[in-house]
Amino acid sequence: MATNVNHSDVIVVGAGPAGYIAAIRCAQLGFDTVCIDNWKDKKGSAALGGTCINAGCIPSKALLDSSDLYDTVKSGLANKGIKVAGIELDLPAMISHKDQVISRLTDKIALLFKSNGIKTIHGSAKLLDGKRVEIKSVNGPEATQTISSDNIILAAGSSPINISTAPTDGEFIVDSTDALNFSSVPKTLGIIGAGIVGCELGSIWRRLGSKVILLEAQEEFLTIADRDIAREACRQYQAQGLDIRLGCRVMSAKKTSKHISLQYEDTDGNHRLQLDRLIVAVGRKPNSGNLFAPEADLLLDENGFVHIDEQGMTNLPGVYAIGDLCQGPMLAHKGIEEGMLVAENIAGKEFKLDYRLIPSVIYTEPEIAWVGQTEQALRAAGEDINIGVFPFDANSRALVMDKHPGLVKIIANAQTDRVLGVHIVGTRASELIAEAVLAMEFSASSEDLARTIHAHPTLAESVHEAALAVDHRALHIPH
């Protein structure tokens, strides 16, 4: 039964990157802020940081990093004069390290909340009418309290999509969250979905010793990326041993006594696979299903995303939505940006959300990163463009590091020379892309990049050379 009815300035539902940033910014702006989050860690306690910190960005990057080190040490140091013997994997320790990183970060957020005077409630929130939020305990269905507020920010995030043909059981057929917690390295690992999450998880377990088969429904690999980048990435992944199969429709996946039996169809017909583990990584859906009571009348679109206007407000006055709940790339930095803007809007500003220059990153090795538009999208729009490509194997630093698969591709408007898209496959692409985002924020031309001094020897020089290449003036590739 509803007990206390506390009133605050702002209630934030969800403490993922969008939510916790929004809460901190609201507190900084002087608002009395309450944040409700329902995440339960392995021990059943509260853990702030949402999917990003607990089950997504952070743990995956931790395992990618660890597994990359393992892979490097195991396979390729002899040519640098380092002999290694007796390399072993202690998977529980690797997982435990990942968990430690997670708790370090969730503790950090708890500390930030405390220092900003943000009241935290561990519970499941449901939006009622009249700007009230009902909070239930995470462990049971009984209502514990109802609170109200002048402003509500919904940041409940998203969850992995389940498919009926491969229902997850948390141990053998798993979603991306449980895929980060296998107790042993699967001998054969199937992954449904060769998108960003599928490629990253596939890379982790491949490096740790699994035979990985990626089953992608689309006919082309990584369609969200520029064609050249997707093609290069696919080549690299396949060279590393990832088995990428396109145009595959999974018909069924069942756990038998010994393994998982999966049946899929492609243009060649029916196929059967026997797997030790199966990951379902076909995308994520917004957590809007149980988010509100019917009388709250929150407007969703046909895909379940919460409808918002340019300033982040839903159809209900004073109720905002940010992050994966709303349309747009499901990226933490997009949610963070929205969290900051919505806090400012509550404070009276009228900032508009701007999605033009959001970078995307895939943390495999080589990494993939891009910002702006792809060549295929620009050509389809009939835009007149010039393209400059520079391969990492012409970059001295990449050669030194023995990390030379990759390329930088810069696309500029043919008349104005304005940079429209920058696409990178290669080591450290996640860091290199920042220069491109900044340049594009200032409407840079490829010439601006070409006339900016880049330190030598660096990977960043590839950006410089690609910019020169737009004008057919690259210096380190023959013509």
């Binding site: 008349q415 020379d417 304005r418 840079a444 031309s445 010439e447 601006d448 070409a450 006339r451 900016t452």
Partner: protein, 403 residues
């Protein structure tokens, strides 16, 4: 604490203004009344002063933006703004410089010897981007490709040869400069005037002997009394007004199918400036005496030179007087200033032989021109109106006696 700098109220006839150039950038300290930005309307360039001392916090509209009354231009931080600290040698503190030019822009500016402040920037905070400079160069240096190709084509037809690369017109010096907004607007209105009115001109000549004699007799007295020189314009204004009272149709306007008779006399005095033609208005000129007319005209002259003329000064008017004589024009056909129906043209005063009392004498003569809208003014009224002006000027006593 921050304050907003808004676009000043533009009068009704002016829809919007173009933001020409910011003189301050975010981070600069500004003093009260410092000119922050120039806004160009159809008629004049407005300056927007800083309302308070402070630091310019942010700019809301970039160079080249179109703005309307009351729109937010900038925000000034007035909290904690200190007096600018002078450097030891007494020179004023330099605020943050204008945004640095990007590398490609620097190269283009240097190669083409350009002045960056003459180019409108469309980048962040009004920064110049490469394309801004490229567009500027294109409008400046465009050779008329159409005429060259047409010439080549006709050459081909005549000579029946395959085209050679020499193009006849290519090396002739030519410079394409876009019209300023003011000139473009003036051009538009002049064209409109010609197209909408049935415009023609009637001429007469006036013997300014009496006026000159009057001036010579009383000029020092006048100047001592009124602290302004007694010029010719006051005579012409007075004469025009008396004539307008006798022929009210000259002071009227056409509106669709109606004639609007104005019960007041707002006389515009056309002034030529380097930016173009400006016509400040003497309001209720019938109620001004000679001295006040001269003072008002001198006042406008100063305002125009100082760049202070306001849109209100230039709006309205029921009749215009233009003086081409200052440049030596002997005779001309002035264009109407819509929606007015008539305009009086004054010209150079030249000693000419005329006949008086059956004798040839030399008198200071001026040709007068009256362009008028034949839709509402008939030839008879136009001619008689101009004759009246001539009579008043040749015998100023008639102005006194209203005859």
């Amino acid at each position: 604490m921050t304050i907003e700098v808004l676009v000043p109220n533009l009068p009704e006839s002016v829809a919007d203004a173009v933001l020409v150039a910011w003189h301050k950038q975010p981070g600069d300290s500004v003093q009260k009344d410092d000119n922050l930005v120039d806004l160009e309307t159809d008629k004049i360039v407005l300056e927007v002063p800083a309302p308070e001392n402070g630091i310019l916090k942010s700019i809301d509209q970039p160079n080249g933006a179109t703005v309307s009354s009351g729109q937010l231009l900038a925000i000034i931080d007035v909290n904690g703004s200190e007096e600018p600290i002078s450097a030891i040698d007494g020179s004023p503190n330099i605020g943050r410089q204008a945004p640095t030019l990007s590398p490609s822009v620097r190269r283009l500016i240097k190669e083409n010897n350009l002045n960056p402040s003459s180019i409108i920037g469309t980048g962040r905070d009004g920064r110049l981007t490469k394309v801004d400079v490229l567009n500027f160069l294109e409008t400046q240096n465009n050779n008329s490709k159409q005429t060259t190709s047409a010439q080549v084509e006709s050459a081909n037809v005549i000579e029946n040869k395959t085209p050679v690369l020499t193009k006849p017109g290519e090396n002739r010096p030519q410079q394409r400069v876009p019209m300023t907004r003011l000139r473009a607007r003036v051009a538009q209105r002049l064209l409109q005037a010609q197209q909408n009115a049935a415009m023609l001109t009637t001429f007469n000549e006036v013997n300014l002997n009496s006026v000159i004699a009057l001036r010579n007799q009383y000029k020092s007295h006048f100047e001592n009394q009124h602290e302004i020189k007694l010029g010719f314009m006051s005579f012409f204004v007075k004469a025009s007004i008396e004539a307008l009272k006798r022929f009210p149709i000259i002071n009227a306007s056409v509106d669709e199918e109606d004639i609007i008779y104005h019960g007041y006399y707002d006389v515009g005095i056309a002034v030529s400036t380097e930016r173009g033609l400006l016509v400040p208005i003497l309001r209720d000129a019938d109620q001004l005496d000679f001295a006040n007319i001269e003072k008002a005209i001198a006042g406008f002259g100063k305002k125009v030179r100082d760049g202070n003329i306001s849109v209100d000064d230039l709006t309205g008017g029921t009749f215009t007087i233009t003086n081409g004589g200052t440049f030596g024009s002997m005779m001309s056909t002035p264009i109407l200033n819509p929606p007015q129906s008539a305009i009086l043209g004054m010209h150079a005063i030249k000693d000419r032989p005329i006949v008086e009392n059956n004798e040839i004498v030399i008198r200071p003569m001026m040709y007068l021109a009256l362009s008028y809208d034949h839709r509402i003014i008939d030839g008879r009224e136009a001619v008689q109106f101009l004759s009246s002006i001539k009579e008043y000027l040749e015998d100023p006593a008639r102005l006194l006696l209203s005859i």
